[in-house]
């Protein structure tokens, strides 16, 4: 197979027809380049979307109280349903509920002070179980734990933005004390990412502490829970609504009385969006590839036609038809592979550049090239070039040399 002379002859022919070679090569390079960039960006989109849910537990459900919309047992519609801390015990017994945790937001603003800096941030009461449901991605320190809650410790897990404003960036915030309305809270953890928040600027304290220090009422803003393996939210939802409707006095069928947000459903929605995007990518990719195939085929067709006379000369001086065929095919192969490789390198380079530049947004991060896909694309281009070169070349070498020589 490896015949140095033959490759030298091909190299020479290609280098002597720079325009023709360059045009074919450009078609192939561009096709592969576009394909690689397209697929790479597609992966970036996929990573971006999947990243949104990275920090949440996929089987978690959040329940908020709503407003009743129908009358119930003589009660008028429009009443607010307030979830309470006691609901946790009730719902915790429902089969299928795994972890269950409270979230309470203080609706009054409190002044926070550290040294000479002050600010006002929302204060949330949570307990140790929240860590297993709505993950806060910690930069430093730890989550709120059970002892914090039970002993009403004045500790806080705060957003990185809060630290930035109150302390600046130079200091290790863990163990520092922030005064909240004159009450000292020790920072035990700093988070920098949470699903429901753009900027991490919340102030999380143990629920027990919040109840003792700021607001003794049992009302909650949200109950979050995770579903045990083998159960679904759809399966246990009616039981949970039934229990809550009895306790809080609203119609089971009143859809407005409770709001629930099932992360799993949201993930599935985005996953189906991703499937759509991927399908689109495949269509565009196949289209690009097809355009590349047509380009290579066309060039090969024209090239072979142009070279009929050359083939006639070669035959007149002793070239066998098969030697000419092999020459044409090898030329195609060399151009397609070399150009495709260049396109591949360029595409991978661009994608790498984008990745290392750290470009990301809510829906885009870490673009990545699937090299095996790019290589199969290159293979398909080669095949297209070979077929497109082979058919007319076979025709060209079949005709009598004297006719080929008359060809202009």
């Amino acid at each position: 197979m490896f015949d140095f002379d033959r490759w030298a002859e091909i190299g020479h022919t290609l280098s002597q027809h720079k325009m023709r070679t360059a045009l074919t090569a450009f078609g192939v390079s561009w096709g592969i380049f576009m394909l690689v960039v397209l697929l790479g960006m597609g992966k970036g989109l996929e990573h971006g979307i999947m990243d949104i849910f990275k920090d949440s537990v996929v089987n978690s459900v959040w329940i908020h109280g709503g407003k009743t919309s129908v009358s119930y047992k003589g009660l008028t519609p429009g009443r607010e349903v307030k979830l309470s801390i006691d609901d946790l015990d009730l719902l915790g017994k429902v089969p299928g509920v795994d972890l269950i945790a409270p979230t309470k937001l203080l609706n009054k603003g409190y002044n926070m002070q550290y040294g000479r800096n002050t600010g006002s941030f929302q204060i949330y009461g949570i307990n140790a179980k929240n860590a297993g449901i709505q993950k806060l991605t910690l930069m430093q320190g730890r989550q709120i734990n059970e002892l914090d809650d039970r002993e009403f410790r004045k500790v806080a897990v705060v957003g990185s933005r809060v630290i930035e404003i109150l302390m600046g960036k130079q200091r290790n915030p863990i163990g520092e004390i922030i005064q909240v309305a004159g009450i000292p809270f020790t920072v035990v953890g700093v988070y920098n990412k949470a699903l429901e928040e753009q900027t991490p600027n919340r102030f999380y304290i143990p629920y027990g502490t919040l109840q003792q220090v700021f607001d003794p009422s049992p009302s909650l803003n949200m109950v979050s829970l995770t579903i045990s393996a083998g159960y679904t939210w759809m399966g246990i939802k009616s039981e949970i609504i039934r229990l809550l409707s009895r306790r809080h006095g609203f119609d089971e069928k009143d859809a407005a009385a409770l709001e629930s947000f099932d992360i799993n459903v949201e993930v599935k929605k985005l996953q189906s969006l991703m499937t759509g995007v991927q399908l689109f990518m495949i269509i565009v990719g196949v289209g690009t590839l097809l355009a590349g195939c047509v380009g290579v085929s066309n060039t090969m067709l024209v090239t072979v036609k142009e070279r009929t006379r050359e083939f006639g000369i070669r035959k007149a001086i002793g070239a066998t038809p098969s030697s000419i065929l092999v020459m044409v095919l090898q030329e195609t192969l060399v151009i397609t592979l070399a150009a495709g490789y260049l396109g591949l390198i360029a595409g991978v380079g661009i994608i790498d550049l984008i990745r290392h530049s750290g470009a990301k947004s809510d829906y885009f991060r870490d673009p990545q090239v699937d090299v095996s896909v790019a290589l199969s694309a290159l293979g398909i281009l080669c095949l297209a070039g070979l077929i497109a070169g082979y058919l007319p070349a076979r025709q060209a070498v079949r005709i009598l040399p004297i006719e080929a020589l008359r060809h202009e």
Partner: protein
């Protein structure tokens, strides 16, 4: 070397079959230097192309070196052309993108002669033809006479016993034609069989025998002048 019996050939032009060669009998011995003359359309080029296995014939017989050349596969034909025949064209038919030396070495490439030997042989031939300073030039950088000498060198490079030339001086001025014919005479003296088409009586006179073709027939079978 060459024996042709009752050879005929017609070209299909649309629906009409135009006979070009109408029963040619011809033989050329080893070492002969023969010219073919005739007006245009007399079929002399067609005859030479058939002798060079560049074209096919319809009926009759053509024996080259006692081998019957009748519908051969293109691969077999290529092998015959490679071993036995050197062809010189009126329009040179050099590959325009190859230098003189590469053009000359091409037939050896198809005989799978190693590169070094190919180049040495081609270089030597070009030097004997006075083209030593032109070996790396492209055909477009050469004069007509130089191009034809490159083409002749190419025809000679694989040392075939038979050289066929179709109006080799047709595109050259008289001084250059003279040089080319001198070259042919020398090749003939070295023992090669030559068949040359020409329409120039002076050129024809320098050959050992003239075959006159008219309207697809040989007018003077086997005669000198």
């Amino acid at each position: 070397m060459i024996r042709v019996r009752n050879l005929s050939k017609a070209y299909q032009t649309g629906a009409v079959k135009v006979p070009v060669l109408k029963g040619i009998d011809l033989s050329v011995k080893v070492g002969e230097f023969v010219s073919i003359m005739g007006p245009s359309g007399s079929g002399k080029s067609t005859l030479l192309n058939i002798l060079g296995i560049l074209d096919r014939y319809d009926a009759g017989e053509y024996l080259l070196n006692d081998t019957l050349i009748k519908p051969l596969s293109e691969t077999q034909a290529a092998q015959f052309r490679s071993r036995l025949i050197g062809f010189v064209f009126q329009s040179f038919n050099l590959l325009p993108f190859k230098s003189a030396i590469d053009n000359v070495a091409m037939p050896l490439y198809y005989q799978k002669v190693p590169r070094k030997q190919r180049e040495a042989k081609a270089r030597k031939l070009l030097e004997t033809m006075g083209l030593a300073s032109r070996i790396h030039h492209l055909p477009t950088e050469l004069s007509g006479g130089q191009r034809q000498r490159v083409a002749i060198a190419r025809a000679l490079v694989n040392d075939p016993p038979l050289i066929l030339a179709d109006e080799p001086t047709g595109n050259l001025d008289s001084a250059t034609s003279e040089e080319v014919m001198a070259l042919f005479s020398e090749i003939n003296r070295e023992g090669k069989t030559l068949v040359v088409i020409t329409h120039d009586e002076e050129i024809a006179e320098r050959t050992q025998r003239v075959i006159r073709l008219q309207d697809g027939h040989i007018k003077n079978p086997g005669m000198k002048h």
